[in-house]
Amino acid sequence: MRGTALRQRLAELRGPDVPAKALDARALAALAANPGCKRRAILDGAGVDKAALAGALGSPSAFGQSQFALTRGNAFEAKVKADGGAELLRLVHERLDPAARPPVDAAVPELSAIGPEGRTARTALALREATAAAGGWTLLDHPMLALDVAGSAAFLEPDAVVVHPDGSWTVVEIKSFPMLDGSADPAKVGAAARQAAVYVLALEEVAARLDPAPRVRHRVLLVCPKDFSNLPTASAVDVRKQRAVTSRQLARLTRIQDIADALPEGACFSPELPAEQLTAAVESVAASYAPECLAACELAFHCRDRSRAAGAVTSLGRSVRAELGALTTVEDVLAAARGETGDPRDPAVAALRRAAGLRAEALEAAAGAEPPAGLWSVPTPAAGAVPACR
């Protein structure tokens, strides 16, 4: 009953006749990276199209994917999965489970069904059958998994899930960035690992409903093009840490119900509303902006504007906050540094004043004609006499 009421409420927030935008693993991983952001939680939970919303607010997002990358990515995934996933299963066997029997005649069950709920049920059924019929390999191509996120269901679609002969399950993530001489861009691998961790969590929910519960492997397989070719190569990635972090952050997410209850009556995020009304609605729920949001959230430019207008020091980076103690706005910090406000016994204030004094002294010394004798006058050492380092 409560679920229906919430769904009704979230549909109202989205606006009449606006279809819900599905939460994907990428969005979930981003959400888990900033669990304090209620704004993102409610907008994602309600399935609001944040890109459209940002456009309507007058701060359009800069996200997009080049069709070149898309074509290349799709071609690579098709190549990896060709021939009933023979190459993919070979890589899983080689990298994760070399002791098992080689994957020949692997089963590739049909997973199509109507609607995400139907596909989720179909996937769960296929997983159960494959696990029961142990002894062979099974490849699930684009299965659908459901994960409860802050009180509403998110449907996730991993690239592939493999059932091993021993009945354990592995998440496979296919990416089109290259693995160069065995190593790939750490930032991209990190993003892929966080995404895969979300799938592992969702798979574990499916596994928990089976008896005996099959093991979901915490080492996922990351498949990438090798060097400069489009031949696939793979590496096992341990996602235990990402899984633990994501699981904790998802549990911490403020319940969407609570956020929805705190919203004013009639609040709505439909992109068709006038900008002032939308701004008011968006402002009615708190955000926690940090520069990292720019790479992960469509609404980031809007939140940045607001954060800057409020003079929040976090808009310069989360680390900045750490050394400023209780001072949270630019004006407060500068006033304290100038000695106009603040308690000099506060260590943060004292450090600020010393920093400001030293900075002013140094700039003065540099601007003045000659620095104090002997202080900064360092003659150039003889050139050509430093053979120690090549």
């Binding site: 701060s59 359009p60 800069a62 997009g64 080049s66 069709q67 070149f68 990358a69 898309l70 074509t71 290349r72 071609a75 001489d181 093009p225 060097d227 400069f228 070719s229 489009n230 031949l231 720019l294 430019f301 800057r308 003079g311 020091v313 808009s315 310069l316 980076g317 680390s319 900045v320 050394e323 400023l324 630019v330 910090v333 000099p344 450090a351 600020l352 010393r354 920093a355 400001a356 030293l358 900075r359 002294e361 140094a362 010394a365 540099a366 620095p371 104090p372 004798a373 002997g374 202080l375 900064w376 003659p379 150039t380 050492p381 050509g384 430093v386 053979p387 120690a388 380092c389 090549r390």
Partner: protein
């Protein structure tokens, strides 16, 4: 980020303009740098789309790959790039001066001085951003194992001559850029970010346009407004007014302008290939040339703003005087350049994919040592950098209030004067801690003796009152000559303003590593006979 740098950022927010975080320029800028603005194709590794390259800001050389997935066109691009970059590098290889180097004599095992050549100057590659530096490495990696038809007549898809050589040089530039303080390959965003603090986060500073907007905003605009325009403003076509500095392009550009243009080019090429007779072929060739011209214009329009921005950034950096120790670090770059020149001339194989244990350990040790050296030298060259060290308790400045002559307790009494310094800084001094000051460019060491008491405010415990000054006693221990009386000017005098550091000014090399043949088993044992690296496998279906 030190509190002083944070403060500079906050001041930038308040004033709407970037604030200095350095009073001198801490990196060498060549008189004739080679600026390289590359663009790459989304989704493909090492598939260049185009580049602007050259030493003359008014005449960049435009290189474009009209169909980035065509292997031949890509090789043509790389060959053209080699025609620009290699002559530039060669122009520095010939002018040499004599220098000495310590080497181990293979027969006696002693360290002896050997006369060697050192290039009088070195080339310098400037790219727009950090991603550009990575791209130089990537291009280097993609080329250096390629085989030319001359090296290996059997090789499928041979590379044009000189392309593998360009790969080796770009790899060297990329590898050298990982050494702190080196200047052979530099990104303008990093250079600007080192010398100015903007009112935005360091993440946003990676956008060259936004960074320049903060440092040098147009008249009547604040840095924040100008930066926002640089980040987001689009024209009627939905294209960014300030295109990203690359190598990645804006997806909107790819989808709306580039993809249709490439499609037209592909169609024109197919039509030409299917031409029935010469007359028809002439027309179709014209169409193909037009399609190619269109792509060239498009790609160049995305790169020209970045090209201008890079030069503007260099102008801004040139307005700062060069730091005193920059020349010394540049000499190290010259050694690095000379060393690689010699390896190429000696016919050594390209840099391996993975370093052996000893090489890797050497590289890490070098980077650590250079990092420490850079930090010390920047502080010595620049009062603003020293201010951050003083705030952190790693240095202190003050006035000499008393000098008492004293002597050491050895058989031959040597001068060990006691110097009392009044400072408002709060150095973290342990008992008998060594401190250093610069004396004629050389470090003079002193030993911390004790905090002194001043009048009634007894602070023998070293306690500092809030905002008050402290007195500390130091014992000078070297650089005073051999005699009983210290040499003139080698002992501070009353009234001198001095700055002492707790860190050493010069870095000593670490323990020597074994030769590669002596690699211990813990590190994989001796690497054995080096097998030449195999070229990357190429297949017909690679969209190369």
């Amino acid at each position: 980020m030190s509190l002083i740098a944070t403060l500079a950022r906050l001041e930038a927010v308040a004033t709407g303009r970037a604030q200095p975080t350095a009073t001198v320029r801490h990196r060498r800028l060549s008189q004739r740098p080679l600026v390289f603005v590359p663009l790459t194709t989304a989704g493909e590794a090492g598939a260049p789309l185009g580049a602007l390259v050259g030493t003359d800001r008014d005449a960049p050389r435009l290189l474009v790959v009209p169909q980035p997935r065509d292997r031949d066109l890509r090789f043509a691009f790389l060959a053209e790039l080699a025609d620009v970059v290699l002559p530039y590098i060669d122009s520095y290889a010939d002018a040499v001066e004599a220098a000495e180097r310590n080497e181990t004599d293979p027969e006696t095992g002693k360290r002896v001085k050997v006369e060697v050549e050192l290039c009088a100057d070195a080339p310098q590659l400037i790219v727009p951003s950090r991603a550009g530096v990575d791209y130089v490495r990537l291009l280097g990696r993609s080329m250096r194992f390629r085989r030319t038809a001359e090296q290996d007549p059997q090789t499928p898809y041979p590379a044009p001559p000189r392309v593998p050589l360009l790969g080796r040089w770009l790899t060297h530039f990329g590898e050298r850029s990982r050494v702190p303080g080196s200047a052979l390959l530099q990104a303008v965003t990093e250079l600007l970010g080192r010398h100015w603090a903007t009112g935005q986060s360091s993440l946003e500073d990676q956008h060259l346009g936004a960074l320049l907007a903060w440092i040098d905003p147009p008249a009547g605009e604040t840095g924040a407004q100008a930066a926002l325009r640089a980040e987001l403003a689009r024209d009627a076509d939905g294209q960014l007014l300030c295109p990203p500095a690359g190598p990645a392009t804006d997806p909107a550009f790819d989808n709306k302008l580039l993809a249709p243009a490439i499609e037209r080019y592909d169609r024109a090429r197919t039509a030409l290939a299917a031409a029935q007779d010469g007359l028809q072929a002439d027309d179709l060739l014209g169409a193909l040339t037009a399609a190619e011209g269109e792509i060239r214009a498009l790609v160049s329009s995305r790169m020209l703003p970045t090209w201008d921005a890079v030069w503007r950034g260099l102008d801004l950096l040139r307005s700062l005087p060069e730091g005193a120790h920059v020349e010394e670090r540049w000499t190290r770059d010259r050694w690095s350049f000379t060393g690689h020149r010699d390896r190429v001339v000696a016919g050594e194989p390209p840099q391996p994919r993975r370093d052996d244990a000893v090489t890797a350990a050497n590289k890490l040790a070098t980077r650590e040592r250079e990092q420490a050296r850079l930090e010390a030298q920047e502080a010595l060259d620049d009062p603003l950098v020293m201010a951050a060290r003083r705030l952190a308790g790693e240095a202190f400045a003050g006035e000499v209030v008393d000098v008492v002559m004293a002597y050491g307790e050895g058989k031959r009494p040597s001068p060990r004067p006691l110097v009392t310094v009044r400072t408002e800084d709060l150095p973290h001094l342990a008992e008998r801690a060594k401190v250093y000051r610069s004396l004629g460019g050389k470090p003079q060491a002193a030993e911390f003796v004790r905090w002194a008491a001043e009048g009634d405010a007894g602070r023998a415990d070293g306690g500092h009152g809030a905002g008050g000054a402290g007195l500390l006693v130091l014992r000078i221990v070297d650089k005073m000559g051999r005699g009983k009386e210290p040499e003139a000017g080698s002992v501070p005098e009353k009234g001198d303003r001095l700055c002492f550091t707790l860190f050493e000014h010069e870095q000593r090399g670490g323990a020597k590593l074994p030769d590669p043949e002596e690699t211990p088993w813990t590190h994989g044992g001796p690497p054995g006979e080096q097998t030449p690296e195999a070229p990357d496998s190429v297949t017909q279906e690679d969209l190369l």
